[in-house]
Amino acid sequence: MPARDGWLSGWTPFVVLGAVLFAYVCYPFVAFVWQLDSFDSAVATDPATLSAVRYSLTTAPVATALATVFGVPLAYVLARSSFRGKAVVEALVIVPLVLPPVVAGLLLLTGFGSLTPVGSLARSVGISLTDSYVGIVLAQTFVASPFVVVTSRSGFAGVDDQLEEAARSLGSDPVATFWNVSLPLARNSILAGVVLTFARAVGEFGATMMVAYHPHTMPVQIWVAFGSRGLDATVPLVVLLALIGFSVVFALHALGRTPTLTR
């Protein structure tokens, strides 16, 4: 930002265009708060509300971890190698972003429903893949994982491969090179992807409500509360989800300020 004197001079187009989007995003929140009749504090401590908070906060981190553990290596492969059918793999990784979540939920039900081979196998060892904790994690991972894959891939692509070659010429094997050179250098992108994946997982509604309507997560509980008791009953959960949204922004902000060699 330039100094105080006439800061608008060179920045006007940016400020004006940005303000339009900012106002557009803010307006519905203002309208939402405006329309509320009352804040019923009993709703905030309702067992259904607490249960929804519990399930959201215990599933989204696990979904995020799964997406990261399997997604970052995939991103590394996609960034560093070329093979037949790579374009197909890349497209399939992105598909969950394009699909309406309800369709993603139907796909998951077709693959993991309780009467499918996979579903009955899991049942025989006592694990239910639908309408359960596991079902929520499955839905969230499916829908949210593209974020960490896509951002990590672009992070790895930004790492100078001469640095990796230098490490290898000094006797480092591919795994050690990944671990000691590529991963630290792509760290910011990966962490940004992790944060986005978490945000998507915690807000996931469409696929979750197909695969695991029960137990309710926060987004499903919001929908159920709106359907039965109206807008006011959704407020505590909406506020909490908005707070999680703010935390995500602050986390991204903190990451953005950490200097790395990629720049």
């Binding site: 519990r54 981190p61 077709t110 429903g113 009467l115 159920v224 039965s228 807008l231």
Partner: protein, 321 residues
């Protein structure tokens, strides 16, 4: 390097412990005061029944029978597709359209079905508006709502049964009151709301003075309800043939004929806890007063079954008729 390695080990250990904690907190039963109970009846029911079943019948069923209850609510069409496609395996299916349930599920996915309640189409209004005053004072509804300044709400006839029943109501009313042109006036002087859930929100907020809706919707929202004559309200199974004289052709070209608003229930063949499911249906049949309190109607002619009813339900249905 070793410093970085120990930091990573620390992060990995901390992260692992946190994730383990998540899985434990998320999967262990009994935390947060939930108790394990007998077999649970998984009920997949029409969205318009969410208040009556999820807040009244379900919890009472759990208290009185010792079975668990778990409800899931969606549009009736979606419910049929999910059960037909074997995507969901509920113990009880409740549809807001008895004919739809029979056509979609019997006999391939369920052996029987039972109609247990009806709902009536009518008019709700905001008592703090001029239109509300006129309706409350007893002025004939069709005169009030045919007025071009009113703009009563209705739902989209191409999207949901309430929407096409409302336009059929206009046609039936034109003949019933012998007022040529009435149907067209009622149609053009009403506005289409996006969804059922938004229809009454508009009336509550005062943005819309009146709306055509099902009776239980008005009860759920604590709004007044103008009852219509039985020949117009789609609630009396005895007038099935009369309702069928009205029809609506959707934008896709399908013609739908009028039929009463009847709620039907069944236990699908591949239910996981069929015993709990049958007990739930029995409970629905035995407690018509709960349904009535929540705005549904249960005429003398119900319950009415089709197909081979299970033994424990047969006695309830026969005792009533």
């Amino acid at each position: 390097m070793s410093k970085q390695r120990s930091r990573r080990a620390f992060l990995a250990a901390g992260g692992g412990a946190a994730l383990g904690g998540c899985v434990f907190l998320g999967t262990s039963p009994g935390l947060f005061g939930e108790s394990q109970r007998g077999p649970t009846a998984d009920v997949l029911a029409a969205g318009s029944l969410v208040v009556v079943i999820d807040e009244q019948v379900g919890p009472a069923f759990g208290r009185d029978t010792g079975f668990g209850y778990r409800g899931e609510f969606r549009g009736s069409n979606a419910i049929m597709r999910l059960v037909e496609g074997e995507h969901k395996h509920p113990d009880v299916v409740v549809s807001a359209d008895a004919g739809l349930l029979r056509e979609a599920l019997v006999p391939d996915h369920a052996a029987w079905s039972v109609v247990f309640a009806a709902n009536e189409v009518g008019i709700t209004y905001n008592p703090e508006t001029r239109v509300g005053d006129r309706l409350a004072a007893g002025e004939p509804w069709y005169r009030v709502l045919a007025d071009s300044r009113v703009g009563a709400g209705r739902t989209d006839p191409n999207l949901d049964p309430l929407g096409y029943r409302t336009t059929m109501l206009f046609d039936l009313a034109e003949r019933y009151y012998d007022q040529p042109g009435l149907a067209a006036d009622l149609r053009t002087n009403s506005t289409v709301a996006a969804r059922e859930s938004h229809l009454l929100a508009g009336v509550e907020a005062g943005g819309r003075p009146a709306a055509y809706c099902y009776r239980n919707m008005a009860v759920d929202h604590d709004l007044p309800f103008v009852e219509l004559p039985p020949k117009l309200n789609f609630a009396n199974p005895d007038y099935t043939d009369h309702y069928a004289t009205a029809s609506y052709t959707t934008d896709q070209g399908t013609t739908i004929t009028g039929r009463p608003v009847l709620y039907a229930a069944t236990v699908p063949n591949n239910a996981r806890n069929p015993e709990a499911g049958r007990r739930f249906v029995q409970y629905l049949l035995e407690n018509p007063d709960v349904l009535r309190r929540n705005g549904l109607t249960v005429p003398e002619s119900l319950p009415k079954s089709s197909g081979q009813l299970p033994q424990e339900l047969r006695s309830v249905v026969e005792a009533d008729s």
